[in-house]
């Protein structure tokens, strides 16, 4: 693996612990099968719940008759939307009322179903098999309505409306709801970002390229289906064991949906078997809670893979028209994007993610971006790793590649000609803070892969970059308890999706002068740690790391005071240097961390320190991919011959897990580019809702994925960290498309680039030549 770290800004070996590769603390449990995931808890007396899901993509629910199901032996209770207080108290409306009201429609639909697979009712029984049989006995009377299956149909004049009370909001900022235009339709939001004079900019261009790009609905594809257990004991307190990206988010939503105080809910995190944004939202917890209350038993609910595909949020299908003008030198004079993202059944696509990022790695004075969030009869979309960014980058980074060919420039030279520097405005109008965009691009251009011979016919090389600005700052808490043997326990509420326990523990070790093994990290329930936002937005190693470092600073302060007591000096006379407490009055007086830890009980009791952090500042960063592909002109099959991924990580905490993020994001991007999509019948039924037919990349599809880590430190973190989780999925879509397009000599602008699509494109090219 060509892991390159440090390109001149970071000092190798600058840190004792950060940048090393210790074994993760939770590793042994995970390689022996001892780790417990969402479905791995079986409480005594557990009953099993199953969900009845809509067979229609769009229908009014006229009546639900559960009597036959209830009469079945082994069935203990049923639930419908009548059992969810938030639905009974609040009409479904958008831009007003409690935020969790919309989510409740995903738990149990009220008056209408808006996608095939939407939950309608639930049964709890003594076994999952009985519950499943009983679900089939529930009789629902539907009035089937016309299906609005995609943005094209949804935006047509006179289209069937999904929501009678949905009106279009217009906004010029990502934040805030915007102004209500009063226009009824299926468009929820129109976001417009504007800089300079777009018409003048295009007048100044010598070459203008305008192209259209399409992507399809894709799923995060986490291997662990949603699973939870709820126990609502008679004293009124509700405990939920679940696999989620955010226990406090689950607590808040469950309390709101059930109309009970948040303090009456405790959420216990199980290990999470992949989320990628998709498990930021829960589905079954309130239903399991209701069924537990009705039966007096713990209730466990586990989705099938089909339910995961049909009933949980995928990412948006999209349409993007991209127009870019350049002058003779290759400088971009103007860029315009018209972006339509499918939100699924309820507003909330990640369109803004695409709109704010796609052009932002470049300095462009004249920009006009119009983004539309459009509802249609598909599952409500959920976050998927850098939400909205891959679609936007697919369009812009493909267009730049095409433009480079058109004007005869090297594709990286074209990007470097226009790269944004610190202080230049992003497409949002906000100037870039400390960000190493040019540094990353220079590394790509100089990398041996970029100029290596392709070595055969029908081969092509594609490059693309992916920019994302992370905020972070939703809140992280951490507690450190010092143990008498000189090790520490580290407690956080940050679900570990990818190795963040070890990455945070390493920061504590660095701060306290300990080894990574001396820190025992654990992720605990909502009763046992301060409020902590969900694991997403590439923020956990940064935000929770910073909270943990702050707690470590408090530990040092308190232990310095203990040393001062032992030495009979003032606390300010004690310094902590390289893991040792030193008396400045008498430098012979020293305690190692471990020695002093053994004296805490005799000097005032245990040391336990908590801190929180909500400053944010994960910041912007650039990732990139280079792919070499070979296309079989007979079959249209694409083989990826070589793959290199680049990321500005600021400072790698644990390089192996940074590489893992880069390799995993690359895999998901390749799947998005070449294989993955939801196939629908005209009525809106997904026909490939299994892992065999929804073909995610397997081990045979990929080569090794070489990683280049670039460390351009982030001044907003004590050790210079940036985010790692999301950026690596942004660039692969365009990089694969560019490679395939160059291999076959014609442009692929619709994903996925299936063998059939490639053969058609080759045929079309040959016909026109």
């Amino acid at each position: 693996m060509t892991t390159t770290t440090d390109k001149g800004t970071a000092t190798p070996g600058k840190y004792k612990v950060l940048g090393t590769r210790p074994v993760r603390h939770d590793g042994i449990e995970k390689v022996t099968g001892a780790a417990r995931y969402g479905a791995d808890i079986n409480l005594p007396g557990t009953l099993h719940g199953k969900v009845l899901r809509s067979p229609h993509a769009h229908a009014r629910i006229l009546s639900i008759d559960t009597s036959k199901a209830e009469a079945m032996p082994g069935v203990r209770a049923v639930a419908t939307s009548k059992d969810l207080p938030i639905i009974q108290k609040h009409e479904l409306q958008f831009g007003a009322g409690p935020a969790a009201r919309v989510l409740a429609e995903n738990d149990l639909a009220d008056k209408k179903v808006l996608y095939k697979g939407q939950a309608v009712a639930a049964v709890v029984a003594t076994s999952p098999h009985i519950a499943e049989e009983a679900v089939g006995l529930i009789e629902v009377d539907y009035e089937v309505l016309p299906t609005v299956l995609g943005w094209r149909e949804a935006m047509k004049e006179g289209a069937t409306l999904l929501h009678e009370n949905l009106t279009e909001k217009f906004t010029v900022s990502r934040a805030g709801a915007g102004d209500d235009t009063g226009n009824k339709g299926n468009t929820a939001t129109h976001l417009q970002l504007k800089m300079g004079d777009i018409e003048q900019g295009f007048k100044e261009a010598d070459t203008i390229l305008e192209r259209e790009y399409n992507t399809q609905t894709v799923h995060q594809g986490y291997i662990e289906p949603f699973a939870c257990t709820a126990q609502w004991v008679p004293d009124g307190r509700l405990t939920i064991w679940t696999s989620t990206q955010g226990i406090f988010g689950v607590r808040g939503n469950v309390a709101a949906i059930l109309d009970i105080p948040e303090s009456m809910v405790k959420v216990v995190p199980m290990e999470i078997g992949g989320g990628f944004g998709g498990k930021g939202t829960g589905y079954m917890e309130p239903v399991a809670a209701v069924l537990s209350k009705k039966t007096g038993h713990p209730v466990k609910m586990v989705m099938s893979r089909k339910e995961v595909f049909e009933g949980t949020g995928p990412s948006s299908g999209s349409f993007i028209r991209c127009k870019i003008g350049v002058d003779k030198s290759g400088k971009i004079t103007a860029a315009q994007l018209h972006m339509i993202y499918e939100a699924g059944a309820f507003p909330g696509s990640p369109m803004a993610g695409g709109a704010t990022s796609a052009l932002s790695a470049y300095k462009i004075d004249n920009v006009l971006i119009d983004g539309y969030d459009v509802v249609c009869n598909k599952p409500k979309t959920a976050a998927y790793r850098a939400p909205g960014h891959p679609q936007g980058a697919f369009a812009v980074e493909s267009a730049l590649d095409e433009l480079a060919e058109l004007v005869g420039m090297d594709p990286m030279d074209l990007r470097l000609k226009n790269v944004a520097m610190e202080g230049d405005r992003a497409a949002t109008g906000v100037p870039h803070a400390h960000v190493g965009l040019k540094e990353v691009m220079d590394v790509i251009k100089a990398h041996p892969h970029y100029t290596a011979p392709l070595g055969g016919p029908n081969r092509g090389r594609g490059v693309a970059t992916g920019y994302r600005l992370n905020g972070g700052g939703s809140g992280s808490s951490a507690t450190i308890n010092v143990i008498a043997n000189g090790t520490v326990n580290l407690t956080t509420g940050s679900m570990d999706l990818s190795g963040t326990r070890v990455a945070i523990a390493m920061q504590v070790a660095e701060a306290l002068g300990l080894s990574a093994e001396d820190v025992t990290p654990q992720v605990v329930d909502t009763d046992s740690v301060g409020w902590t936002g969900g694991s997403g937005g590439s923020r956990i190693t940064f935000d929770t790391g910073r909270a943990a470092i702050a707690a470590a600073q408090l530990v040092i302060e308190q232990m310095s005071a203990r040393a001062a007591r032992l030495w009979e000096v003032q606390p300010e006379d004690v310094e902590f240097v390289d893991g040792t407490f030193v008396c400045t009055k008498n430098t012979e007086d020293k305690y190692s961390f471990k020695e002093l830890a053994g004296r805490l009980m005799a000097t005032g009791g245990p040391v336990t320190c908590s801190a929180m952090d909500s400053q944010g500042g994960v910041g912007g960063a650039l990732a990139a991919n280079i792919f070499d592909v070979e296309v079989d002109p007979e079959t249209g099959k694409v083989d990826i011959l070589r793959s290199t991924v680049f990321l500005d990580i600021g400072q790698a905490a644990h390089p192996s897990y940074v590489e893992g993020q880069m390799q995993g994001g690359t895999l998901q991007g390749i799947g998005w580019a070449l294989n993955e999509e939801y196939f629908y019948t005209p009525e809106g039924s997904m026909v490939n809702s299994s892992l065999l037919d929804y073909r995610m990349p397997i081990s045979l599809d990929l080569p090794m994925i070489d990683c280049v880590l670039i460390e351009y430190p982030n001044p907003r973190h004590p050790y210079g960290l940036r985010g790692a989780g999301e950026h690596p999925i942004i660039a692969p879509l365009a990089a694969v498309a560019n490679a395939v397009s160059r291999a076959i000599g014609t442009r692929m602008r619709t994903l996925p680039i299936t063998p059939g699509a490639i053969l058609e494109a080759i045929e079309e090219k040959n016909a026109t030549n």
Binding site: M1, I28, V31, G33, E224, E271, R305, L667, I705
Partner: protein, 182 residues
Amino acid sequence: MADKIHVHSTINGTEVDFLCESRESLLEVLRDTLGMTGTKEGCNDGNCGACTIVLDGRIVDCCCVLGVEAEGKSILTIEGVASPEGLHPLQQAFLEEAALQCGICTPGFIVAAKSLLEREPDADEARIRHWLAGNLCRCTGYDKIIRAVLKAGEMINQGDGGRSSSAAGGVGAADSRDVYND
């Protein structure tokens, strides 16, 4: 409620008796009846490999095996891969190579890879990719998993492992009917 059937099998070297309904999968029996949750469910239709076990010397997705089919058979699950002396070389290599992120697919990969290395400790990258094509991972891009299996093969060749290879369930002579071996 369906009648239950008595089944006798050997799991990780220990004789086990259990009752199951004829419709229950072996995955359900392991996880729900016997409390052995190390074997995971990712799809319940034989497409993801998270529930890979060794059944009389062959790797199978046990979501597609009925509990009653375990009668008289010998089973190895992830819980039987480590020995009292320590981790199996594959487990050690997965830790050292950081070959897991979320870890939900890891038990299936380790059980499947163990079955390969017992037959072919010299398996190269292409062979390993081929053998593991029935195990899905969404986090790692497979890179570090392949490297971990290569490393474990080296460890086994150097006599640094195979400690648990006598665990039951396991290891028959090379079986030409391997599900992944075409």
